[in-house]
Amino acid sequence: MLSFNGLVAVCILYVLGLFGVAFLAEKRAAEGKAGWLNSPWTYTLSLSIYTTAWTFYGAVGSAVRTGLEFLTIYLGPTLVFLGWFWLLRKMVRIGRAQRITSIADMISSRYGKSGALAALVTVLALLGTTPYIALQLQSVTLSFAVFANTGGGSPDAENTAIWVAAGLALFTIVFGTRSLDINERHPGLVSAIALEAIVKLVALLAVGVFVVWGVASGPADMLARIEASPVAQAEWNGARWLGITMLAAAAILCLPRMFQVLVVENSDEGHLATAGWAFPLYLLLISLFVVPIAVVGLELGSVGDNPDLFVLTIPLSLGQDGLALLVFLGGFSAATSMVIVAALALSTMLSNHIIVPLWLQATRHEDPMSGDMRRVALMARRISIGGILFLGWGYYRLSGGATALADIGLIAFLGVAQVLPALLGGILWRGATRIGAALGIGVGFAIWMWLLLLPNVAETGGLLSGFIADGPFGIGWLSPLTPLGLAATDPLLTAMILSLGLNTLLFILGSLLSFPSPLERLQGAQFVNIYAHSRPLHGWQGAAGTADDLLIMAQRILGAQRAGALFQAAAAGQGRAGDMPDPTPEFLEKLERELAGSVGAATAHAMVTQITGGAAVGVRQLMAVADETAQIKEYSNRLEAQSAELAQTAARLREVNAKLTELSVQKDAFLSQISHELRTPMTSIRSFSEILMQADPMDDAARGRFSRIIHDESLRLTRLLDDLLDLSVLEHGKVTLHESAVDLSDVLDRAIHAAGAQATDAPLRIVRDRAAEAVPLWTDADRLAQVFINLISNAQKYCDANRPELTITVQALRGRYEVEFADNGSGIPPGQQTLIFEKFARADTARGAPGAGLGLAISREIMTRLGGGLIYVPGGAGARFRVRLPAGALRVA
């Protein structure tokens, strides 16, 4: 007899074996060597998580109590797989095409990606699954206890349950949340489950064979024993048969764990064809020996009074320890595989539809594609797995191992079956709407909770018994035991008819009376007409043409060189010769990321999936593409604006360049002018000095005249140089102004005197108004006098009147003083009135007169420096210049 500790050791070894298989499978998958991982048999075997410990052990118990009714549990799925194969195929196709991650996601996606609907289904699934997990823990604990009672060692049921729960959590976390796979597939976990499915089947078959050929003496004897057994006399309840068969059929479609293996873990649609006949066969084999075992168990008096454990107690009582150990492992496998997949599926739902949305809302995280987000999602899943198993364990502790747990299987079935109307309607009826789905599921969920879950929990925990029996506040028709005043002979059937009936009715009515959103409408069309929107999917290998297409696309976006390097690196990473990698999910993800850098995440995803056919382009992706397009448009608008700006800048540059060119031309002209102004007097000087140098006889008058000319021309040269320097300093240099308080009339006096025009017999008569000239100034008197001198000497030189006269007037204008110099000559022609202020410019009328034409240019510069101005006033008879005195003139006044 195996000791308790020995049993624990075997268990641990078995679990380690499962870990090993899972690791190996993950490794092979990572290397791209799918092999048996990608076999339809693995897929079919993984579906066997449908048969949990409840059916592994409980089917025999059920046979003892109700005869063949246990068969309904297998009949439902068999009918679905054989008769409704088209529905399964459609579900798998939709799941793959839409990247559905769970049953909650499926419902939510179909109805406009509704977060609320997903959360509702998640809660429903959690409530339905938790007691179910408790049931598995109970069965493991019970089987341990059976061994412990017959063998040695100390049974410690509570510790057993918690260790099993912890171990399962660890296993699920390790193989269920290693990474966020874009396909949500877990090859390691599925392999381990497939192995467990084999152990389950072999164990049950072994017990069956032992019973038929070991205890009885062959099939004929067995049939005779069955005839004589009370099992054969069990009453046949047609309504219950029909109901449970329907329930089981619904469950295989709606159970979160079934959806996980059936749709999410499916790597090849073709696998479904094999599973279509192989899974019913598996169920047939599993159920084949249930009745013989029950019959033999009842015959043997020594096996205890719990028919639910006959499978284990028959070999134990007959001394078949090895067989018993196999059975134990089979039951252990049934329990653990269910818990693992259920926890995984639930954690995905909890994380995706409750935790992460809440977290996103709380943190207002902006970049859901970042690594940080993925870390959060993974952490949420791990915590969820721990939490789910803790809940299961807590429920088990609450129940204290009560037999009420045995009923929970069917109760859970009905709970998840509330999803069925929305699921089927969503796949088959385009008119189904979110409102209808939410109404149906919500109401069905509530009825189920009230009529089945609550009483079960109450019974399990021994709570609220009065409340349950008499209804809340004593309102009898609200009592779960007598709903609507009906004396429920079969609470399950009553609840089923009420909940599913109302659910379906409200779903249809709600859908008919509400209008779907555009997103719902689109998703509805995608789901219902899925075959028109997608191609069949055959795993991640055998897509030889795809890599070429991907490369062509990548080259178009990334450039030939970068795309080539990327593909080569990926091929090398996969250990493939050449530079064409397999389009593995990892590679596609990497490629998508690379492309996203150039075209945006949504577009990249749409492009890659378009080529790999991995998914139809969803409306959300299309919207994201539109967003990106809008951004690109905006960007191009910005570019346009920038290029307009650049054009403006270029125009400005051209302008500046033209100005510079003009300046350069002006500079040349200026130099040429200077050259002319210097060479002209020098010509006279050189000529006359050569004449004088010659020894020819010359009269003194001529000699004197020539010397004077040389002298005058030298002075002219000096003046010219002085003016040039003066102008240069005024224009570019720092001019030091010697400002002081002076009187305007004094400055005028000095200027007239310096110009030699003060004499009464001077050719130019000057007319002044001394009274008006009494203006106090704060300025550089020498500079101002220089301007006045220039204006007076201009009049002296150019006034062509017979009796030249210069009138100097002073007037105050808007708080500023202006001095005007007007002569009575013929004035300056209109075309040259601005020209005269240019350097070396002389009006044509002034030709031949001495001076280089710098005087007015210098004067204007001086007045600007002093803070005033100098302009020519047109319109008068003669030349008229107006000097605007500096504003500072009033400072002292």
Binding site: H676, E677, R686, S687, R847, G848
Partner: protein, 129 residues
């Protein structure tokens, strides 16, 4: 030697200097200071040689030269151009327009006399004066 020279030049001092030098060399020298009336003066005076400054009030010496070369009477008239700007561009332009000689101010008296003599030798046959 001999003959009549017209000095078209607006600087009175230069006219006086050049007039003195050329007179001493045997020429009858007249001065004229305005570009606008220069052609009329040439037609009226019919000089044997014209000394023409480039920068004149009114019309530029180059314009006057162009007109002289365009008229049959004066197409062969010897013209000596003077300029104070000292840029070779002016010289090239003047020669291409048909100037017979070109002097940049300031020049030596000997240079002027030699150039004028050279021009008069060229016209000796036709002028004969």
């Amino acid at each position: 030697m001999g003959g009549r020279i017209l000095l078209v030049e607006d600087e009175a001092n230069i006219v006086e200097a050049l007039g003195f030098i050329l007179s001493r060399d045997g020429w009858e020298v007249r001065g004229h200071g305005n570009g606008n009336s220069a052609l009329d003066e040439i037609e009226r005076l019919k000089p044997d040689i014209v000394v023409l400054d480039v920068m004149l009030p009114g019309r530029s010496g180059l314009d006057i030269l162009r007109d002289l070369r365009g008229a049959p009477d004066t197409a062969e008239l010897p013209v000596l151009m003077l300029t104070a700007k000292g840029q070779s561009r002016d010289r090239d332009l003047a020669m291409s327009l048909g100037a017979d000689a070109f002097l940049t101010k300031p020049f030596s008296n000997a240079e002027l006399v030699a150039t004028v003599r050279d021009l008069s030798a060229r016209i000796g046959a036709s002028g004969g004066r």
